[in-house]
């Protein structure tokens, strides 16, 4: 029990550290690198939230699939819109 609470606190600190990293990144890098940093950090943060806060760590495989399924579907929308936009 105590251990679980400690783990959640660690995750919380990690999230705040990632937030600091992404804010710092916004002042130092620009262009494509900036996008990589800010969205890489955001993805890491969301992964932590999903895995630890939302307890996907202990859920069954099916629930995990459902949790990320919509994200995969969103990727379809974003990818095909990008294909049109960059080749127009």
């Amino acid at each position: 029990m105590e251990q679980a609470r400690k783990r959640l606190a660690t995750v919380w600190l990690a999230l705040l550290a990632l937030l600091a990293l992404t804010v710092a990144g916004s002042f130092t890098v620009t262009g494509a690198a900036s996008a990589v940093v800010s969205f890489g950090v955001a993805a890491a943060k969301v992964a932590l939230i999903f895995w630890f806060f939302m307890q996907l760590r202990t859920e069954k495989g099916l629930i995990r699939v459902f949790a990320v399924g919509a994200i995969a579907w969103l990727a379809i929308l974003l990818t095909l819109v990008t294909i049109d936009k960059v080749t127009r």
Binding site: M1, A4, R5, L8, A9, V11, W12, L15, L16, L19, T22, V23, G25, S26, V29, T30, G31, S34, A35, S38, F39, V41, A42, K45, V46, I49, F50, F52, F53, M54, Q55, E59, L62, I63, F66, A67, G69, A70, I71, W73, L74, L77, L78, V81, T82, K85, V86
Partner: protein, 192 residues
Amino acid sequence: MVDQPYSTVLQQREAATMGMFVFLGTEIMLFGGMFAVALGLRLTHPREFVDSSMQLHVWIGAINTAVLLTSSAAVALAVHAVRARQFRATSVLFVIAAVLGVVFLGIKAFEYATEYREGLLLPPVGVQRLFMDLYLVSTGLHALHVTVGAGLLAAVAAFAPQRATLVENTGLFWHLVDAIWVFLYPVLYLAR
């Protein structure tokens, strides 16, 4: 106690969790439309998008992100508590999370007011106007979710902190509202 179509408590709990995750998927797709608009806007007008983004208050956004992350951590602890049947702790943690949600809304309101004074909201012409419209609609929609979420947290804390499934599902909703902000923040504030 098992409700009508179910035969076991476990089955009912699993159905509730699965239903919640499906619902969260619809929320992701709802905000996904906004992310697609942001992507389209940035691909068409990369320079103005970045310029407009730099006008926003990075630090206010950062503080708000920290507030939401903290609130999410409180909810995670509350779910932990309800599983240990510490209902009082669950209640307290949910109230903390709800209060942080209200703090988030307060900061957001202050930020809108500041932007209004600076003439950023509804600037007259051009791509910056499109960007600020996108900003308004997406943060507004998110703020609506925070309002609903904070209300749910408070209601569950007050009336039903012992109903584990309800506590967990409310928590899941709150985490997703947090996760969406985690993406909105770099999309809107940190484009460089």
